[in-house]
Amino acid sequence: MKGLQIVVLGSIVPDPLQTLEPIAGPTGPALKNELMLPAVLDPWAGHALYEAASLAKKVEGKVYLVALGPKAKLQQVMMNVAQKVPFEIVVLDGPAGGFADATETAKALAGAVEKIPGLDKSKLLVFGGWQSASRGTGAVLQMVGEMLGITDQFQGVDELVLAEDGSFTVLERIEGGCYQKSACQGAPALLGWATGNLPEPPNNPQVGMQNMRLIMPALAKATPSPLKGEGLRYASVEVPSQRRDTRIVKDAPVDDIARELADWIRA
């Protein structure tokens, strides 16, 4: 099916290796030193983007990345992501943190998708990560889908196989390491990606150059999208105390360790 329009919804999260601590901000909880933390593209949204690019290449489609996040941080992350696959970005300058309300985020994103020039819903696939690494609700995509009138939705997707006629099959993760396989007649549809099957694409300077010609102007005209944070109140946010008194067994014979472990497992 030629001319697919694949809209990927995805934003940034703190680099997963960083230590995170909550603080009470003026408008609710926030991350300590949030501005200083290096950020990355949300990992599952990243997989969605790479899958989108791979699909678009096969069907001469076009990939849009709609991102809601602080402009300066988005710009920084794009310096890395934009080298990987070709896409056009739509920037909403607003909060990307985990404490923002999923519904408000969904409304902002759906509004931005609707405004993409030349959007043709009969050719529209909405992609995203099945959960974010920040809020982790796995709720935004479904709501965006509903707002756009898309009722063929899939979550935890690891594989999408598109047929010539535009129909496709999907593998979704379900419990116990199993997959549910579905067939859908075609666009419009929404897919929340898990890991997918593609490795992270290499950094390609030509892709970067091409993307940047559009990304910098898009960042410059980013739509301010402050979220009101209405309706959701935080009574507390804390890093749970989790320190355990670790007994360290050193210089013990392997047999003794194995026996102790066997007893513990059997108990």
Binding site: P16, L17, T19, L20, P22, T103, A106, A133, S134, G136, T137, G138, A139, L141, Q142, M143, E146, M147, T151, D152, G156, D158, T169, L171, E172, R173, I174, E175, G176, G177, C178, Q180, K181, S182, A183, Q185, T195, G231, L232, R233, A235, V237, E238, V239, P240, R244, T246, I248, V249, K250, D251, A252, D255, I257, A258, R259, L261, A262, W264, I265
Partner: protein, 331 residues
């Protein structure tokens, strides 16, 4: 306050454990309880919880609702929620319910919060607990808006047991969907390594794939040792991202896929016990441990900041040797 417990029946018509736990959460809110069930058939499931105190049972059933599919499930849930007119709607966090929960909330104009690990009513307020930033911090949230739809994680509430016989009011729903579920792909029984109900989680870390003291990698040994432990204990297998990344079909640890990944970009499974082997790292791994009760670890570094303070026991030893002996003992 009207509370609607909304859940799907399983393939055999029963109500799953995760759903029975969510029902306990719903009951705990007080108020007038109602139940909405959907699936191929729902009577058996309704009978399973007939004595839960619900004032009303709604049902949507039929072949159209036999499988987990967004279009049909969302329509069924929407219809029952509208019929019930509830203030609070509680669903389990199964893959099937999670697929539609937020979409249903959107149709109802409801507020939504997912994957709660706590839900309490106190002093006329409802306080929900959930994790943020991949299980790194715990927040308590409140909302005034109603209806409020929530999903609750399994393993956080006791399963409700209240068998009897229930009268279910069946609703007719005609879903619009262009999707057909064509089947479930499950690993063969002997290749099944993700077992959510197992008592023990075995976490294989990157150390298994690293160069060993003799200067060589021993991936074949690692592979057979891990599999023999799995066979001996029937435990569930988890892995770190770095080990998964170097595994997969055709690689030395072919049975590891991204579905095994625990931690930052993987899952956060719940098991009574956890044994970490050859793991070393900080935050990303801590996340994977979050819901493991008793924790033990084997690695070569006594100073390992990850195991210290996070595990109950740290064995400073060669995991290859210990795993070999352990598998023999447990055979």
């Amino acid at each position: 306050m009207k509370v609607l417990f909304l859940a799907h029946s399983e393939a055999d018509g029963s109500l799953g454990k995760a759903a029975c736990e969510a029902l306990t959460a719903a009951k705990g809110l007080g108020g007038e309880l109602m139940v909405g069930l959907y699936g191929a058939e729902v009577q058996k499931a309704a009978d399973q919880i007939a004595g839960c105190g619900a004032a009303k049972f709604y049902g949507v059933a039929g072949g159209e609702f036999a499988t987990a599919r967004y279009g049909s499930d969302a329509s069924a849930c929407e219809a029952m929620a509208k019929a019930a007119g509830a203030d609070m709607i509680v669903m389990p966090s199964t893959s099937r319910a999670s697929r539609v929960a937020a979409g249903v909330a959107q149709r109802l104009g409801a507020a939504v919060d997912t994957r709660l690990t706590g839900l309490e009513a106190a002093d006329g307020k409802i306080v929900a607990t959930r994790w943020f930033y991949r299980q790194r911090m715990l927040g308590k949230i409140e909302r005034d808006a109603r209806p409020w739809l929530v999903t609750v994680d399994s393993g956080c509430f006791a399963a409700c047991e209240a068998a009897g016989s229930a009268a279910v009011e069946m609703l007719n729903v005609a879903p619009a969907t262009r999707t057909t579920v064509t089947g479930v792909i499950a690993p063969a029984a002997d290749a099944q390594t993700i077992r959510p109900d197992a008592k023990l989680l075995l976490v294989a870390g990157a150390g298994w794939g690293k160069t060993q003291p003799d200067g060589q990698k021993h991936l074949d040994d690692a592979s057979s040792l891990i599999l023999s432990l799995l066979a001996a204990t029937q435990c569930s297998l988890g892995s770190s991202k770095s080990l998964v990344d170097q595994s997969g079909e055709g690689a030395a640890l072919p049975f590891l896929t991204h579905m095994h990944q625990v931690g930052q970009t993987g899952s956060t499974p719940r098991h009574q016990k956890g044994l970490a082997t050859c793991c070393h790292g900080e935050e990303p791994h801590v996340v994977g441990w979050r819901f493991i009760g008793e924790r033990r670890a084997i690695n070569l570094d006594a100073g390992c900041g990850w195991a210290q303070g996070k595990a109950d026991v740290l064995y400073v030893a060669d995991a290859f040797a210990v795993a070999k002996k352990l598998a023999e003992l447990l055979k």
